[in-house]
């Protein structure tokens, strides 16, 4: 029965996604997203945040389709800049530069691009199918969660940042706590008391998530790009059918890399708090370990493009699974989308599957459709998108600044928010330079209310005693996983003692 109902729902969702209005919105989203992905200094997280105000006048279904399509487009677009310009357009395409750019230098840009797009498509397609069949049962299981279980899941989400984030664990924990703390500014939802506002009336409405996200990710990124001095020198590429076909013929031999990348990517994406970026790095590392051509990695090996791209897209899809089913974003970009849920008048959580059938299944249906349109679009329009990078940075930088200001203002119609945005831009720049990860702060900020409520309700259930958590088996399971994740950095440090330190790229958990 359940399987059949999934097919029914899926057909319904495809129908929703295929209405002319929603289809148009998806294509617009894909084009905008690919452009955002191509442009360095304008990331997917920030891009989605900037477009959020434009969704206020749309229906929730159209709004989520727009934002999700922007995300898919940005995932595709990042690869173009990585391969042709050796500059990652997005953090999740850093690993794609390792082999993508050497290939382009050898005159094989077409092969690298085709390989990137095709493996992205396959990774996403498999992940979407996994999504379709995992989401409904997960939502159903989550419906049975009480406050103690909810709190345990949230805690585990925060622990993933520390365990798998790759940044300094102390700094990660600090940023998580800081994000939760910013969420408490304003007034207490239970008692109605104003708090943490330093007596300022203007802080009573709280700290706006979108404003902080735009500041940290948008302006912070601009400052970093300006500091490094951006120089774009691209390789030209043209894709024709012959190159595409030749590359596709190579694909069967990468079967295991693709399977590994997809499964790894999907689960890393599902884990709350980790997104496409760590997935792409891990998949690249694994492929290098298992490949017969390990020595060619980094010098222009097609497999080195296939591995990160498959995982990045699978993770991008996976990251939306906890967002839709539990109300917990799997990545910062998903966190921005989740902030949109509240604005559109939806209550994120497992109930969505029952109360908002059109919204949930429309989103799932649109994933299938935008993935197909997306891959065809990027395969045919590479030169057009690559040309976007010919917009000089001297025009692009002020443009991003203005769009950021508009996005920050429109979130709440407050001029004060522009100052908050500026301040968080500077903070984001300083934090990132000293290895304080930004993603935990953003995700914690959006989850702050939910975390506090579930903790307080659980404590009330236990009449003030935290022992309530130990009487709930599911919660205990999550706590054990949480403890393991928090201990992971220490375990890793112990195992590496005495061994030569490997040079590791520290992925910022963006995406």
């Amino acid at each position: 029965m359940p399987l059949l109902s999934v097919f029914n729902d899926l057909l319904f969702g495809l129908g929703v996604a295929l209405t002319p209005a929603n289809l148009t919105i998806a294509v617009i989203g894909l084009i905008l997203g690919t452009a955002i992905g191509v442009l360095p200094g304008l990331g997917g997280t920030n891009g989605v945040a900037l477009l959020l105000p434009l969704t206020f006048s749309l229906t929730p279904t159209a709004a989520i389709i727009l934002l999700a399509s922007v995300y898919w487009g940005a995932l595709f677009g990042g690869a173009i800049t990585s391969i042709l310009f050796n500059i990652p357009g997005e953090p999740w395409s850093v690993a794609t530069t390792f082999d993508g750019y050497p290939l382009a230098q050898q005159g094989k840009a077409g092969i690298a691009l085709t390989a990137a797009f095709t493996s992205s498509f396959i990774g996403a397609a498999v992940a979407i199918v996994l999504f379709t069949f995992f989401a409904p049962p997960l939502a159903e299981a989550a419906l049975r969660f009480g406050p103690p279980e909810n709190f345990a899941v949230l805690l585990m989400a925060f622990a993933t940042f520390t365990g798998l984030g790759g940044a300094n664990p102390l700094k990660t924990i600090l940023m998580t706590l800081l994000g939760l703390l910013l969420g408490t500014v304003g007034f207490d939802i239970v008692t109605g008391q104003p708090r943490m506002n330093f007596g300022l009336v203007s802080l009573q409405s709280g700290v706006n998530f979108i404003v902080i996200a735009i500041g940290l990710f948008g302006l912070g990124e601009i400052f970093l790009t300006v500091e490094e001095g951006l120089r774009l020198e691209g390789v030209r590429a043209r894709l024709n059918f012959k190159v595409v076909w030749e590359t596709w013929k190579l694909f069967p031999r990468y079967l295991w890399t693709i399977v590994r990348g997809t499964i790894l990517g999907f689960w890393i994406g599902v884990l709350p708090g980790t997104g496409a970026t760590p997935a792409s790095f891990m998949s690249y590392g694994l492929a290098k370990q298992f490949s017969k051509n390990a020595r060619r990695f980094g010098k222009g090996e097609v497999e080195g493009v296939v591995a990160p791209e498959t995982a990045a897209h699978a993770a991008g899809i996976g990251a939306l699974l906890p967002m839709v089913t539990l109300g917990i974003p799997g990545s910062p970009t998903a966190a921005v989308m989740l902030a949109g849920f509240f604005i559109w008048g939806l209550n994120p959580g497992p109930l969505l599957f029952q109360t908002q059938r059109e919204f949930v299944w429309g989103l799932i249906g649109s994933m299938y459709i935008t993935n197909v349109i997306g891959v065809l679009m990027v395969l045919t329009l590479v030169p057009v998108f690559a040309a976007i990078n010919r917009i000089p940075f001297g025009i692009l930088a002020p443009l991003i600044v203005i769009l950021s200001s508009i996005g920050a203002y429109a979130a709440n119609n407050q001029i004060l928010d522009l100052w908050v945005m500026l301040a968080s831009g500077v903070a984001g720049y300083l934090f990132k330079k000293r290895g304080y990860p930004l993603a935990p702060l953003v995700v914690a900020l959006v989850l702050g209310d939910m975390t506090e409520q579930s903790l307080r309700q659980a404590l009330i259930m236990g009449q003030g005693s935290p022992a309530i958590f130990l009487t709930r088996p599911i919660a205990v399971g999550f706590f054990l996983a949480t403890a393991f994740l928090f201990a992971l950095p220490a375990i890793r440090a112990l195992r590496q003692r005495g061994r030569p330190q490997p040079v590791e790229v520290e992925p910022e958990l963006e995406g």
Binding site: P53, L54, F56, S57, N168, L170, K171, I173, L174, L177, L178, L180, L181, T184, D188, V190, T191, Q193, R195, M196, F198, I222, F223, V226, E227, E228, G229, P392, F393, G394, I395, A397, P398, L399, V401, I402, S405, I406, Y409, A410, I415, L418, W419, L422, V426, L430, F431, K433, R434, Y436, E452, L455, R456, Q457, L459, I460, G464
Partner: protein, 160 residues
């Protein structure tokens, strides 16, 4: 770089102490409706204080070469471009009451493309006129999202 690590940790520690104090202004203990309003922020702020304190302590004890050593936190050549992006941005926000996003944006775009981007005068004019116009129609007309227009534009649009 080392000094920056210490200063950032110091700033975070001091800020967190302030937040602990702020949390204590409301009840942090058990009340008739369960944990008080200050309960959650208090423990969070305490956690931030502890983390920041440890990072501060570690940075003070770190060997000379650690945390980027004596390399400057912001390279000398980067100061100028950074300030050129930031200061005008802050200036525009400061006078946004008068200029609004559209005129302010035009001034910022024009100034930046001209002085930093060193584009030709017709590019500068084209960009700083077309972009704000496009934004105006997108937000005010198509998406019906009123943005701050500033006193000057409001006067021109409605009061004349």
């Amino acid at each position: 770089m080392r000094r920056a690590e210490t200063l950032i940790a110091l700033g975070l520690t001091l800020g967190a102490v302030l937040l602990v104090r702020e949390a204590l202004r409301v009840s942090i203990s058990w009340t008739s409706v369960g944990p008080g309003a200050g309960f959650f922020p208090f423990w969070l702020a305490l956690g931030v204080t502890i983390c920041a304190g440890i990072i501060l302590f570690q940075s003070l004890r770190a060997p000379a070469g650690a945390n980027g050593g004596d390399r400057p936190f912001i390279p000398a050549r980067a100061w100028k471009p950074l300030l050129i992006v930031f200061l005008p941005m802050a200036a525009v926000v400061a006078v946004i009451d008068y200029l609004g996003i559209y005129i302010g944006g035009a001034v910022y775009l024009g100034g930046y493309t001209w002085l930093v981007g060193r584009h030709r005068w017709y590019t500068v004019i084209l960009v700083s006129v077309l972009v704000p116009l496009l934004l105006f129609f997108t937000f005010e007309r198509w998406f019906l999202l009123p943005l701050p227009k500033g006193r000057i534009l409001e006067y021109l649009l409605y009061e004349r």
